[in-house]
C-alpha cells in the first residue's frame, strides 16, 4: 500500500511547494524532487521481486459501483516507466533550481503544477484500472496545459496550451469510450485481467481498440496528431525536457505497450500501430532535419522517436517488447539530456537558433561532451543504451524472426525503420553541429559560463545512458520480464552490445554511413527540403475543425436564438403540437382511442342556459382577440371573466363563481390602473401568411387540448376520489365540501397558494416601489445617465461598449455602483 501513499505525497508536495517557493525561491525545486527520488528508490528496491514475477499491487476504492477503483500494479513495464519518470524527473527538478531565477513570474504555480504532473504521471504508469488510468492521464493533460502556458501573457503560449489540451483531451474522450467498451466487453475494468483474458471474439473489439489507440496516439504525438508537440515547445525548457521527452508523451507508448500482450493479435491493432508508428518516425525525422531552432529540432526528433517507440510497443513480438524497454529508457535519458543542454544554451546565450550559435564546443566542453554522448545514443552508436535499443528494434523486424509478422510486412517495416534511423542519425549530427560547432559565417554571441550545478543535470543523465549502454544486462531482466507474455520461439533476444555479426549490426552500420552522408550533404538536403511541395499540415486540420465548429456555432445559434418572445412561445406551442399533438391525431386516425359516440356521452349541450353563457364566452373571447383598442379590450376581457363565472354557476360551483367574480372585479380595476398609462391602441401584426399560420397553430393547439379533455373524460378509469371527502366531511366539521377541501383536506395547497400571493405582493411592491435613483435612471429623457453608468462600469475600455453594457446590464453588482450608492440625494 506504499504506492498510493507515494502518490498522495506528490499531491501534498504540489500544494506545499508554492508557499515554499515564496520563501526559498527556486531552491524549492530541490525539495520538490525528494518525493520523486524517494519513489524511484522504492521501485528500485522492489525491482528484483517485480522482475521475479511478483508485481507490487495495492488498491484504493473510489466509486466501486462504477468500477472506478484506484488499483495499482507495478510490473516490469511499470517499474521501467517509474524509474524513468521519477529518475529523470528528480534530475530535471534539480536542474530547475538552477534554471529559474527567483524573480521568475508565477514560479510557485509552475513548481506546484510540475509536482502534480509528476504524481499524475506516476499514477498513469502504475495503475491497473482503466478509469484510474484515464483519471491520471487527463490530469497530466491538464497540468501540461498549465505548464505549457507558463508565460501566459504570450498569445503563442496560450494557443499552444489550448491546442495540446484540446487535442489530447479530445482524443482522450474517444479513449474513454474505448475503455468503457473494452470494460463492458471484457466484464472488468482491471487492465491486468483484460490483458490476461481479452474478449477477442467480440465484434465490437476492433471499435474499442481503434478508440483506445486514437487516445494513445494523440498523447504520444503520432502523425497526424503530432502538431501539438512542437507547438508546446513554448513551455520553459525544463518542462519540455520532462513532459515532452521523458514523461507525458510516453504515456501513449506506455498504454500501447501495456495492452499489447492482450490485444496485439486482434485486428486492426498491429496494422494501425505499425503504419502510424512508421509514418510518424519518418515524418518526424524528415521535419527535424530542417529546423533551425534547436528545441524544435529536438521536438520533431521526439515525434520521430515516439513513432519508433509506439511501433515497438505495439508490435506484439518478443523482440520488440525487449526493444521497447531499452528504447524507452534510452530515449528518456538522451532526449532529456539534449533538452537540458538546449535549456542551458538558451539560458546563457539568449538564443537557441542554429544560425546564431557558434563555438560553444570550445567554451563549454563538458556540456558538449554530455550532449555528444546523448546525441550518439540517439543516433544509435555503441556503446550507448540507444545502440542496444536500436539493435533490438532492427532485430525485431528482421524477416523470419517472429512468426507473428509476415515476411513482407517485416521487410516493409524494416525498410521504414532503417530510413527513419538514417534520418535520426542525420538530425543528431545536425544538432551537435548546430549547437557546438564553430561556424565561420556566424559571429559569437555572449555566453557566460554556466554554473556547475547547472550543467550537472545533463551530465548525470548522459552518463546514465553511457553506463546502462555499457552494461545492458543490468536492464535485461526488466526487458525479459516485460516480454515474457510473448512467444520467444525458443531463442529469446537479450539486450546486449554484441550479438555477433547479425543482420541488425550490418543495418546499424548502414544507418550510420547513410546518416553521415546525409549530414555531410546537408546543403543539398536543405535544397531538397525546400524544393518539396509544402504538403499537408495536420495543424491546419486542427484549425479548420475549430473554425468549422465556430462557424456552425454562430450559424446555428444565430438562426435558432432569435431573441424574440413570440417566436419562443410559438416554438413551444409547435413542440406541444408536434409531440403529444401528433400522437393524439395518430391515435384518433388509427382508432386506438375510444371516442364517445351518440348515446355514449356525446351530446350537444346539457341545458339551454349553457348555450347563452357559452355564446357570451366565445364571442367575448374572439372579440378580445380582434380588438385593437385598449379600453374596449379591457371591457371584453372582464365580460369574458364574468361569463366564465356564469358557467361556474351553471355547473354547480358557487364558490368558484363567487371568487371569480371578486377576482375579476379586482383584476379589472388593476388593469384600469395600468392601462390608462399605456398607448390607446395596440400594435398588431400585418395580415399575411405568418399571421395566418399563427392563427392556425393556435387553433390547432386549442383544439388539441379540448379534444384531449373530451377523450380523457370519456375514458375515465375510476370514479373520482372525492367521493371520500363527503364521507369524512363530518369529521372535518363542515358542509361546504369545496371549502373543507381548501381549508382542511388540502390545506397544504391553499397554504402554498397564499404564499404565492404574498410573494407576488412583495414582488409587485419591490418592482414598482423602487428608490428614486433607480427609477429616474429609467425615465424617458434620462438615457444619458444610464450610458454614463455603463461607461464607468466598463472602466473606459477601448471596446465598443454599447454591446458590453447591454449584456452586462449596467454593472448591477459592480463596484462602481457601490461607490455611487451613497450619493442619493434627498429632495423634499
Amino acid at each position: 500500500m506504499l504506492l498510493p501513499f507515494l502518490i498522495a505525497i506528490h499531491a501534498l508536495t504540489a500544494v506545499a511547494v508554492p508557499p515554499l517557493v515564496r520563501v526559498m525561491g527556486s531552491r524549492a525545486f530541490l525539495v520538490a524532487s525528494l518525493p520523486l527520488a524517494l519513489t524511484a528508490a522504492w521501485v528500485l528496491a522492489r525491482t528484483p521481486g517485480i522482475v521475479g514475477g511478483r508485481p507490487v499491487t495495492a488498491s484504493v476504492p473510489w466509486v466501486p459501483s462504477l468500477g472506478i477503483t484506484f488499483d495499482f500494479r507495478v510490473d516490469a513495464l511499470s517499474a521501467t516507466m517509474v524509474l524513468l519518470v521519477c529518475g529523470v524527473g528528480a534530475v530535471v527538478f534539480c536542474y530547475s533550481a538552477a534554471y529559474f531565477h527567483a524573480g521568475e513570474r508565477a514560479l510557485g504555480r509552475l513548481a506546484g503544477v510540475l509536482v502534480l504532473f509528476a504524481g499524475s504521471m506516476l499514477g498513469v504508469v502504475t495503475t491497473d484500472n482503466l478509469f484510474a488510468l484515464y483519471v491520471f492521464w487527463e490530469l497530466t493533460s491538464v497540468s501540461s496545459f498549465l505548464l505549457v502556458a507558463h508565460s501566459d501573457q504570450r498569445e503563442s503560449a496560450r494557443r499552444a496550451a489550448t491546442q495540446a489540451l484540446v487535442t489530447t483531451a479530445g482524443f482522450g474522450l474517444l479513449m474513454l469510450v474505448g475503455f468503457l467498451l473494452l470494460g463492458s466487453l471484457g466484464g472488468t475494468y482491471r487492465i491486468s485481467e483484460l490483458v490476461a483474458d481479452p474478449p477477442l471474439d467480440s465484434p465490437w473489439l476492433p471499435v474499442a481498440l481503434v478508440l483506445v489507440l486514437a487516445g494513445a496516439f494523440a498523447k504520444s504525438a503520432q502523425a497526424p496528431l503530432h502538431y501539438w508537440l512542437p507547438g508546446a515547445m513554448v513551455a520553459p525548457t525544463p518542462v519540455s525536457a520532462y513532459l515532452h521527452a521523458a514523461a507525458m508523451v510516453k504515456g501513449g507508448v506506455y498504454l500501447v505497450a501495456r495492452l499489447a500482450p492482450g490485444f496485439a493479435d486482434a485486428d486492426p491493432w498491429r496494422a494501425l500501430v505499425l503504419v502510424f508508428g512508421l509514418a510518424t518516425m519518418v515524418l518526424g525525422g524528415w521535419r527535424a532535419l530542417r529546423q533551425d531552432d534547436l528545441k524544435l529540432l529536438l521536438a520533431y526528433g521526439t515525434v520521430s522517436q515516439l513513432g519508433l517507440l509506439t511501433l515497438l510497443a505495439g508490435a506484439g513480438t518478443h523482440t520488440a517488447a525487449v526493444a521497447v524497454i531499452g528504447m524507452l529508457l534510452a530515449h528518456g535519458l538522451f532526449k532529456a539530456t539534449l533538452f537540458l543542454t538546449v535549456g542551458i544554451i538558451d539560458h546563457q546565450a539568449g538564443t537557441r537558433s542554429i544560425s546564431r550559435l557558434t563555438g560553444l564546443g570550445r567554451r563549454v566542453p563538458v556540456l558538449a561532451a554530455a550532449a555528444g554522448l546523448a546525441a550518439a545514443s540517439m543516433a544509435g552508436l555503441p556503446p550507448l543504451l540507444g545502440f542496444a535499443g536500436k539493435e533490438a528494434a532492427l532485430e525485431a523486424f528482421v524477416p523470419g524472426r517472429d512468426a507473428a509478422l509476415s515476411a513482407p510486412a517485416s521487410a516493409a517495416v524494416l525498410t521504414g525503420l532503417v530510413l527513419g534511423s538514417v534520418l535520426t542519425f542525420a538530425y543528431s549530427a545536425r544538432f551537435l553541429w548546430g549547437a557546438f560547432a564553430d561556424k565561420d559565417t556566424v559571429s559569437e554571441v555572449r555566453f557566460p559560463k554556466p554554473s556547475r550545478a547547472f550543467t550537472a543535470a545533463p551530465v548525470v543523465l548522459a552518463a546514465a545512458g553511457l553506463v546502462l549502454g555499457a552494461l545492458p544486462f543490468a536492464l535485461d531482466p526488466l526487458a525479459q520480464a516485460h516480454a515474457a507474455p510473448f512467444d520467444a520461439a525458443g531463442h529469446p533476444y537479450h539486450l546486449a552490445l554484441w550479438h555477433g555479426l547479425t543482420p541488425a549490426l550490418g543495418l546499424s552500420a548502414l544507418v550510420a554511413a547513410a546518416g553521415a552522408v546525409l549530414f555531410w550533404r546537408r546543403r543539398a538536403m536543405t535544397r531538397l527540403q525546400n524544393a518539396m511541395p509544402n504538403w499537408y499540415e495536420a495543424e491546419a486540420g486542427y484549425d479548420a475543425v475549430l473554425e468549422g465548429v465556430r462557424w456552425t456555432a454562430f450559424h446555428v445559434t444565430g438562426r435558432a436564438q432569435s431573441g424574440s418572445l413570440p417566436v419562443y412561445l410559438g416554438i413551444i406551442l409547435a413542440t406541444m403540437l408536434a409531440l403529444p399533438g401528433t400522437r393524439l391525431l395518430a391515435a384518433l386516425i388509427g382508432g386506438d382511442v375510444p371516442v364517445p359516440g351518440a348515446g355514449d356521452g356525446l351530446r350537444l349541450w346539457d341545458n339551454p342556459l349553457e348555450v347563452v353563457v357559452v355564446l357570451i364566452v366565445v364571442v367575448t373571447a374572439v372579440a378580445t382577440v380582434r380588438e385593437r383598442r385598449r379600453f374596449p379590450s379591457l371591457i371584453l376581457i372582464s365580460a369574458l371573466g364574468f361569463g366564465i363565472a356564469g358557467m361556474f354557476v351553471l355547473h354547480g360551483a358557487p364558490d368558484l363563481a363567487l371568487t371569480l367574480v371578486l377576482v375579476e372585479t379586482l383584476t379589472t380595476i388593476i388593469l384600469v390602473f395600468v392601462l390608462r398609462r399605456l398607448p390607446g391602441a395596440f400594435k398588431t401584426r400585418p395580415d399575411g401568411w405568418p399571421k395566418r399560420l399563427t392563427v392556425l397553430m393556435c387553433a390547432a393547439a386549442g383544439s388539441f387540448i379540448a379534444v384531449s379533455l373530451w377523450l380523457m373524460a370519456h375514458a375515465r378509469t375510476d370514479p373520482p376520489v372525492s367521493q371520500g371527502y363527503a364521507l369524512r366531511a363530518e369529521e372535518a366539521g363542515g358542509q361546504n365540501l369545496v371549502n373543507i377541501i381548501i381549508a382542511d383536506f388540502r390545506a397544504l395547497d391553499t397554504f402554498g397558494e397564499v404564499v404565492v400571493l404574498a410573494t407576488a405582493a412583495v414582488a409587485v411592491a419591490s418592482l414598482v416601489l423602487l428608490n428614486r435613483r433607480d427609477r429616474v435612471a429609467r425615465e424617458p429623457g434620462d438615457r444619458a445617465g444610464e450610458e454614463a453608468e455603463q461607461e464607468a462600469a466598463a472602466g473606459g475600455a477601448p471596446e465598443p461598449l454599447d454591446q458590453v453594457g447591454e449584456m452586462a446590464a449596467p454593472v448591477p453588482d459592480g463596484p462602481g455602483d457601490a461607490g455611487r450608492g451613497t450619493e442619493r440625494e434627498d429632495r423634499s
Binding site: 388593476i670 397564499v754 400571493l757 411592491a765 434627498d826
Partner: protein
C-alpha cells in the same frame, strides 16, 4: 407637494430617496398620514364626487362585516378566507377610487407587508404546530366551546388558517393597489413637476445662452 403636518418637510408620498441608505424602496410610502375623507386630496379618476364619497363611507363597514361573515361561514356555505379577503380588500379599493391615494394610505390598519407576514405566520402556525406534537402538517384541532351568547360553538383550527388566508389576500390587494395605483399616480405627479422644472430651467438656459452666446455646454439639470 403636500406635506405632512406632523413631520414638517417630510414628503407625504415618499418620494425622493429612502432614508435608510440600504438601497431599498423608500419606507413610509404607505404609512397613514391623513384623516379619512379629507378635503385636500384628489381622487384617482376624474373630479371628486361627494356622493361617491358619502356612499363609500356608508358602505365600507357593511362590506367589512360581510367579509367577516364570509370568512366564518365558509365551512358550511360558499365563502371562506379567499372570498372574505377579496371582499374586505374591495372596501379599500373602493375607498381608493373614491378618495384618491391619500385616502388609501390613511385608511390602512397596517402596512400590507405586515399583513402578509402575519398571514403567513398564521399559516405556518396552522401547518407547523401539529408537527411539534409529532402529528402531520395541517392536522386540524377542534374545540367545542360554550359561549355565553352563542351557546355551543365548534371552533376549528382551520378557521385560524382561513383567517391567515384572509389577511394575505387583503395584504396582496392593498400592496397592488398601493403600487400600481397610488405609487404610479405619485410618480406621474413627480414626473410632471420635474418636466415643469426642466422647462423652466431650459428657458433660463436659453435666456442665458442669448446673453452669452459662446458659453461651453454644461451638464444636466442638477
Amino acid at each position: 407637494m403636500i406635506t405632512d403636518p406632523q413631520g414638517p418637510g417630510r414628503p407625504l408620498v415618499a418620494g425622493p430617496g429612502a432614508r435608510d441608505g440600504t438601497g431599498g424602496p423608500p419606507e413610509g410610502w404607505e404609512a397613514p398620514r391623513e384623516r379619512w375623507l379629507s378635503t385636500v386630496v384628489r381622487p384617482a379618476f376624474g373630479p371628486r364626487s361627494v356622493l361617491l364619497e358619502v356612499v363609500t363611507r356608508l358602505l365600507i363597514p357593511a362590506i367589512l362585516l360581510l367579509s367577516v361573515f364570509l370568512l366564518v361561514s365558509g365551512h358550511n356555505r360558499p365563502g371562506g378566507g379567499f372570498a372574505g379577503g377579496l371582499v374586505a380588500s374591495m372596501a379599500y379599493v373602493l375607498r381608493y377610487v373614491a378618495g384618491g391615494r391619500h385616502e388609501l394610505l390613511a385608511g390602512l390598519p397596517m402596512r400590507p407587508n405586515g399583513l402578509l407576514a402575519i398571514g403567513m405566520m398564521m399559516g405556518c402556525a396552522a401547518a407547523g404546530l401539529p408537527l411539534l406534537f409529532g402529528r402531520p402538517v395541517f392536522e386540524t384541532a377542534k374545540w367545542e366551546l360554550t359561549l355565553p351568547v352563542f351557546g355551543e360553538v365548534k371552533v376549528l383550527s382551520a378557521l385560524f388558517f382561513e383567517a391567515g388566508v384572509f389577511l394575505i389576500v387583503v395584504g396582496l390587494v392593498l400592496s397592488v393597489v398601493a403600487a400600481l395605483g397610488a405609487r404610479m399616480e405619485a410618480e406621474e405627479e413627480e414626473a410632471r413637476t420635474e418636466r415643469e422644472q426642466r422647462a423652466v430651467w431650459l428657458g433660463r438656459r436659453a435666456a442665458r445662452a442669448r446673453q452669452a452666446p459662446p458659453g461651453p455646454a454644461e451638464g444636466g439639470p442638477r
